[in-house]
Symmetry: C2
Subunit: 447 residues, 2 copies
Amino acid sequence: MAQKPSIPKGTRDFSPLEMMRRQYIFDTIRGVFRLYGFAPLETPSMENLSTLLGKYGDEGDKLLFKILNSGDYASKLNDEEVRQASKICEKGLRYDLTVPFARYVVQHQGELTFPFKRYQIQPVWRADRPQKGRYREFYQCDVDVIGTRSLLCEVELIEIVERVFRALGIRVALKMNNRKILYGIAEAIGHADKMMDITIAIDKLEKIGLDNVKAELLERGLEQEAVDKLQPILELSGDNTQKLAKLKEVLSASETGMKGIEEIETVFGYLEQQHLDLNVELDLSLARGLNYYTGAIFEVKALDFAIGSICGGGRYDDLTGIFGMPNTSGVGISFGADRIYDVMTGLELFPEDVNCSTKVLFVNLGQKEEAASMTLIKQLRDAGIAAEIYPESSKMKKQMEYANRRSIPYVVIIGSQELEESMATVKDMRSGDQQKVSFAEIVKSIK
Amino acid sequence: MAQKPSIPKGTRDFSPLEMMRRQYIFDTIRGVFRLYGFAPLETPSMENLSTLLGKYGDEGDKLLFKILNSGDYASKLNDEEVRQASKICEKGLRYDLTVPFARYVVQHQGELTFPFKRYQIQPVWRADRPQKGRYREFYQCDVDVIGTRSLLCEVELIEIVERVFRALGIRVALKMNNRKILYGIAEAIGHADKMMDITIAIDKLEKIGLDNVKAELLERGLEQEAVDKLQPILELSGDNTQKLAKLKEVLSASETGMKGIEEIETVFGYLEQQHLDLNVELDLSLARGLNYYTGAIFEVKALDFAIGSICGGGRYDDLTGIFGMPNTSGVGISFGADRIYDVMTGLELFPEDVNCSTKVLFVNLGQKEEAASMTLIKQLRDAGIAAEIYPESSKMKKQMEYANRRSIPYVVIIGSQELEESMATVKDMRSGDQQKVSFAEIVKSIK
């Protein structure tokens, strides 16, 4: 076997350094989810294909990884059948955490306590064409509350966003919109049927400019009069209060639109009350692709790093309907761990101690020294400090190199002289400083 | 869709309660791994089938979950080919963490620092027939050090075992053996070629008794003389020192056997030096199925709960040889999270606070009270206490039921009277006790 082994394209190994950084992100997110009373859930990596198919559109169906039936998958099939994936595969890998969550809620509705607050941090798989920043296996971090229409949930989720990114040290802005407002706009200009077209056009405002958006709207079948009516919305500016005041004028005739405005005003009201230190902006161009959203929509971007949204979500009124449990409203957001990782790497935001797994290495200088070292290491570990001894009494240079390559910040040297004096030499690998510390003081000095 | 959705057989949803308990186990194990300087690693769920096939025996090959090639998997194949899994599947789900680890080490040998200490906690998949306690998706928690023959590694792993189970509150015994001793025994009775047969027979000693073991050995082709020579080993008793003394006599002519004894004596010596509070017993009947072990073998059992081994492992001298990197010795152990979960559930060892995700629920009695509650909740969360407000001002009974069903230990009630006095009623849901606490004292009183 001369060839080096490899892994499937679009998948990744995560090295110790990458893993420590990823765990820091996951632990931070998980810690905040917990503070807000969300409980963990995990669903199997495999779902029945009947659960997954038809939930993500035709394009999504094609991107499902299918698992070949175990055993003799083909013998009972004719030549035609064996060429149909549906005949030889019953299971698929989960494509996101939302559909399994909906499936779980419906399947276990009798046992659950509603409102049901859950978070879920697991990998998902998509047979997408791999490219920079797009992988075939990646983690999602979802947090949802289902079974209540209370807008306090929206507020909690926004607070979670604020707290997670504050903890990670990423400056962000949260954009917010409401699907009801988008519907109201379409309705107000006489085209409730064209809500998606209008939304898509508005979405491009920043990129292609007002004139081009208007041209596109005409192309998409709006008459000039409707486009004119839309003009004040396209030119909407000012702070949230100013935007909402203007919107109220334009949407006054749309019940749904006014409901959307009321919802967003309620949420803004709570946020003000809470003195939340987060830039929350009403952005009418925010639409988000997923069609199941029916109320609030959120999107979070990093302020100091150019990358797509690093977090997003919204309210849905009928997620569980696909599994036969209608009218169950919920709201959730999802954190994009890979992009957050890229932002933190780019801005060098990882705390120094996240980059090392061992805080103290004891150099190994022989059997007697080893015994003394192991006693001290035990004390350090009892105090919660990650410590280890180099397992062989190799050359000093090799052992120091090991400490360097593993970014171990402190090296303790116990040679024959130190042993006699019950003193250890503690070397700070960053500064190069060395000092002698009595055995009894080792734990205190490292702490 | 009238039918309730379901999940594939052999897979599991983990409810919030199960997840909190599982996370407690994983966090404990991970925390100990870290204390010993092991760094995390994650490999992709999918590996190329060429990486997996042939590594687990014919039986293992059959238990691999294979992933259907994406896109049009069949059109370029003739009717014969499309019936061969190898033609329509290039990837499979990982079967364990050992082979992916070996693959990773070989693939990244140039970047790694040896000795390489890694731990890995990830699910694995096996298309086994599902039955009680056997699942098609389950987690493994592996910890290995590769690139050194130092027996200090064995000692560290045993220390890890002690520390993990002490932290979890499970009383355990660790059985230890050495493959070199098993080889030595076979050699000493003139049947180095029959090491596995002899081992398998010895393995049954407890179950079927001495006479039956001897009968089986004769059946397996050993002559009476060899069986007679084995007798003192089969009857080996006493403490580790006594067993080793006897073994030294019997194995004196076997270089390999004596090396095995020396290794185990060295490990025992270290453990004594460390005053490890763990029952470590030399058990010659311990063989462990995996054929790649070449030195120490470990197995851990719970003392107070009848279940198979909950942790096991050993030293291997050529794990990476299968991928073209020979002579790299390593040693590792694996914790069985599912069985540990069963032991802890059976013995009721989970700490009380592991069973609840929210520590404090604020009852929602209306808008004004809500605002006051949210300010206090923010203070609690800032202090690291998981708190939430019921999102709707529903009937008191419903809200209390929610707290009960979610095992929330404290409920805070702020009604109009409390609001006036800036006092909250704090109810301890376990004892039923209630007391009034000033808003300023809430955090302190809950802590």
